[in-house]
Structure formats: C-alpha cells, structure tokens
C-alpha cells in the first residue's frame, strides 16, 4: 500500500525524503512490507505503532544502517542523486556522518561512553574534516548549549551522566553539523516524565528555530502529538494510516489507529 501524504501546508515544496516501496525481511519475518514515506523540508514526521511494527527498522533504513530487499530512498540535496540504497559502504557512512543526524533510544549505541561529552560532539566534526582544536571546542560547546546541556559538565563522560543528559549529548552530536535530516528513535523512552518534557521542549525549540526536518519514532502517542506535523501509523511492517497529526488523533480512520488513539486517550 502506498499512501501519499500531501497536506495543505506541504505541497508548495519538493519533498526532502522519499522512500518508495521498501521491503525488508529477516528470514521468514517480514519487517517492512511495501512501505513508502515522504518528508518535506522543515516538517516533523511521527511514526507510531506497537513493538515489532517496523518503526525502528524504517528509521535505520533512513540512516542507511540497513539495506532493504527492495525499494528506493532519495534525499533532495544538491550533491545527491539516485537511490541512496545503491551507495557503497563508505559513501553511506560519509553521508550519515555529515548530512543525517540520529538520536538512538539507547545512548550506548550513539555515544562513546568514556570519552568526554564535548569529544562525542567533536567526533562528528572530526569525521567531517575539521582540524582546528579551538573550532572543535567552540562548535561542540555551541551544539551542547543548543541542546540545553549544562556546560559546566562539558567534559564529563556520558557514562557519568543521567539518561536525560545522555540524550542531550546525543542530540548535540546529531545537530552539530546542521544535518538535513534528524532521526529520533524513541528519544524519551526510559526517561522520567519531567525529563521527557525537557527533552521534548528542546526538540520543539530546535525545530522551531532551525527548521530541522525530523522523523521521530515512538510508541508514546503523547510525544508524537507534541512534536509531529504528520503521523504515519505502522503495524506488522506496513503503513495502515497516514495523515496530518490533528486528523489522525481527532478522527482516526483505521480500526488499529482508533484502538491505538483510544487506548492512549
């Protein structure tokens, strides 16, 4: 099933992200089945669904960590043409390191726990070729400040930080190079409610101030409702419903979406 998601506020511009007909199976388990998605510049796409619905697999596809069995993925950037799934390992890595930021649910996947927090951010700049220590330091500080990380702990290793702080370091690392696309995989899961609110506020502010295009995956409808402009509902590897956030939450059409929304509310 292919769903087009052209809402009234997004038809003016070309999509930044286009995923078409993505399929992925692990042995006999179908993780993604003919999934298509479009993300426009500056908007936030929320992906919701139960555990095992394929949300995180789709996000890993967008971060080029996985190769699908079929499908295409394009990013509308000046120096990028063609299907990104066809890129070789090195090109993928460089693209992800410089143009796509990701915040993982588990900070251990995204951070070097024993390096300093500023070093974690600096690593991204180093991969992009920055070789001036003072500039690295300043940019790391700026990115951490933007993610509302307490700067007195600039050089503390993430292993000594709380979960919320670790997510802020991940966020700073992800936005350090002003990525074209920011992927958020359950960024607030496991955090207590007050810390969740702080992280969400930071994300909202970043989106408002920097117009970063985001794709956020969560099973928490509250998080999606707070952040997303449009929502895609997934179940068993397929998209069952997609539309504007208000539309999905106020008038869900698919029985599964209704169940999900009502279970939450």
């Amino acid at each position: 099933m292919t769903l087009t998601l052209d809402g009234p506020r997004i038809v003016k511009t070309a999509p930044l992200v286009q995923l078409r007909g993505v399929n992925k199976s692990y042995g006999s388990v179908v993780a993604l089945c003919d999934v298509s998605a479009t993300v426009y510049p500056g908007e936030v796409l929320g992906i919701v669904g139960e555990s095992g619905s394929g949300k995180s697999t789709l996000l890993r596809m967008m971060n080029l960590e996985e190769t699908p069995d079929a499908g295409s993925y394009t990013l509308d950037l000046p120096d990028l043409d063609g299907n990104l799934f066809d890129l070789d390992r090195f090109a993928r890595r460089m693209l992800c390191a410089t143009r796509i930021g990701i915040v993982y649910q588990n900070p251990h996947l995204g951070l070097l726990m024993k390096n300093s927090s500023s070093g974690n951010v600096a690593e991204r700049l180093l991969v992009a070729g920055e070789r001036r220590f003072a500039v690295l330091r300043e940019k790391a500080r700026a990115a951490l400040a933007a993610s509302e990380f307490p700067l007195e702990r600039l050089d503390a290793p993430p292993i000594e930080l709380s979960g919320g702080m670790q997510q802020r370091v991940q966020l700073a690392k992800a936005i350090a190079l002003e990525p074209a696309l920011l992927l958020l995989d359950e960024p607030t899961t496991g955090l207590d409610v007050s810390v969740q609110a702080l992280v969400l506020d930071t994300l909202k502010r970043l989106q408002r101030d920097r117009h970063i295009t985001m794709v956020i995956v969560s099973h928490d409808l509250g998080v999606i409702r707070t952040l997303a402009d449009r929502v895609m509902v997934m179940r068993r590897g397929a998209v069952v419903e997609a539309g504007l956030a208000d539309q999905i939450f106020q008038d869900p059409q698919h029985p599964y979406t209704q169940q999900l929304v009502h279970a939450k509310l």
Binding site: S118, E123, L126, R132, F133, L136
Partner: protein, 304 residues
C-alpha cells in the same frame, strides 16, 4: 638437549637462519609494504630462537635482508650494549657471517628497538624498527576487522578524537611514544614506540625504514623521501620532548634525546640516549679523529 647441541655452527643452517621460502615471502611483503607506504602487510611470522615480543619481527626482516658484505648495527632504546641488542647482533653475525659495527655511519643495516640514531641516515642504509603493536587504531577500535575497514576508508576520526581527549583532559597531547603519523597522506601508522623526538626524522628521510611486528605478523614501510606527518590539530603544534637544553653528563653533547638518570640526592643527570653517538662525541673530544656524521637535530631543533 645439551648446551653443545644449542651452539651448532652456522654452516648446517640455511643462510641467514630462515629458509628460502620464508625469506622469499618476507621480501615480497616488504616490496608490497614499500609500494603502499604505511599500510600494514600481513606475513607468516616464523619462529626464531627468541621469544615473541623481543624483536622477532625486526630480526626476521634483518635475516632476510642480510648478506656477508652488509655491516650490521643493532640498538635497543638507543644503546648498542644492552643484552638484547648484543644478543641479536651476535646472532645476526653468526648466522650470516656479516660484519657488525656500533657506528651508525658505517652500518648498512640498522635494527633498532624504539629509537632512530641521532646521525642522519643515508640513501644506502636501511633502518629496521621492531614493532610491538603495529595497529594504531587498536586503542580506539579493538575489533581488528573493523579497524582494517577504517584503514581502507581512511577513517581516522577516532584517532583525532583521542588527541582531542588528551588535550581536554591534560591540556596537551600526552602521547609520548608511538605517535600516530600519516604516511604519504594516506595511511596512519604507529612509528613503533619511538619517542616524539624521532618521528620528524622519518619525514622525507633519505633511508628506507621497514617496521616489522613478529608477534602481530605485520610489516609496513616508509620508503625514502616519503611524507610522514604526525597527526596534529592546525592550532596545536607538534612538540617533541623538551630535551633541547639538556647536556649529557658523560659526553658533554647537548641538544639530543637524553636518558634521565635519577641521582641519590633526588636530582637527575642526563646521558645521551644514542650510546654510540655519545661514545663518538667523547672520542672526538679526546682528539681521536673520529668522524661525526650530520645530525637530524642541532641545538635541540630539527635541521631539515
């Protein structure tokens, strides 16, 4: 087994101890290493009558290159007279019939552990460095398969990050030896645990340097006139050890790499680390007419 059986004359052995196929493989790997400067080439490190980690890699390269007319010098941390250096030197001489020397200028082949001599090496000289750990990425990537991919992709961001962390934590780069260096603008290598003082000597050097790790089974090389640039941030210059102002208490030489010798009263005396160079300086001072070669450093600063 008797002592007599352990001291067979060299004649019944293959020339240079290693058999012909081993030497052929080593030669091929050395050529490959020269062709791709700084890139580690795997080889089947053979057993030699010495424990792994005591210079078996360097010894195998020396045994492969050696011939009866080749003058051999062996140094260990700059000293010709350490037990390890003396043993390797005697072994090389015994299995090859090659003459040995302590003088850097006279040597054709110099096998060294952790130092490069103070006198400038010539185009016809070969320096063989013993390497305990050839993989510069090991400290940042323990998985060697991934480390090899990182070399393939020239992905050295983590190496730079290591330097960043050192500056953040200590205010300066703390890497004392094995300073990661970019060879020919492509591969980062560890120049064996030579001090920072010695790394600039490899840059555009006239001589061939072969680095070999016997335990880790890797050979890499720095051909003559090849760029060897230590990884440094643009705004944090590379610094060698601050030995420029130290004077050797025995030879009186000044501005060379020194060994610190703690004294009973808590102070320190210093002697020049390159022992043969120190001896030559003493002989020169005594008016013995010894030829002193040009040195890489003058008054503690690189001359080239």
């Amino acid at each position: 087994m008797s002592l007599a059986s352990l001291t067979k004359p060299w004649a019944p052995m293959s020339y240079g101890f290693l058999d012909a196929s081993a030497k052929r493989e080593l030669r091929r790997k050395m050529i490959k290493a020269v062709c791709v400067p700084g890139c580690q080439m795997p080889y089947a490190s053979r057993e030699v009558p010495m424990a792994r980690g005591w210079g078996t890699g360097g010894l195998q390269v020396s045994l492969t290159l050696i011939h009866p007319q080749m003058r051999v010098k062996v140094i260990d941390q700059g000293a010709d007279d350490s037990v390890n250096a003396a043993s390797i030197r005697r072994f090389l001489a015994r299995v090859s019939g090659a003459p040995v020397t302590l003088d850097t200028l006279e040597a054709d082949l110099i096998q060294s552990r952790h130092r490069i001599p103070e006198e400038i090496l010539r185009e016809d000289q070969v320096l063989v460095l013993q390497v305990p750990n050839p993989e510069p990425l090991r400290s940042v990537q323990p998985n060697m398969s991934i480390a090899r991919q990182m070399h393939g992709d020239a992905d050295y961001g983590r190496m730079w990050l290591q330097l960043y962390e050192q500056i953040v934590r200590s205010g300066r780069v703390m890497q004392g030896a094995s300073y990661p260096s970019m060879v020919n603008g492509r591969h980062v290598m560890t120049p064996s645990p030579i001090p920072r003082w010695d790394v600039p000597k490899l840059h555009m050097a006239r001589h061939l340097t072969i680095l070999s790790a016997g335990r880790e089974k890797r050979i890499f090389a720095v051909p003559p006139y090849t760029r060897v640039e230590p990884l440094v941030f643009d705004d944090v210059p590379y610094r060698v050890e601050d030995h420029g102002g130290l004077t050797c208490y025995r030879s009186g030489t000044k501005g060379f790499f020194m060994n610190e010798i703690p004294q009973g009263d808590g102070s320190s005396a210093y002697e020049v680390s390159d022992s043969a160079f120190g001896v030559k300086a003493i002989r020169t001072r005594e008016g013995k007419g010894i030829e002193m070669g040009e040195t890489w450093y003058k008054d503690g600063a690189m001359t080239q």
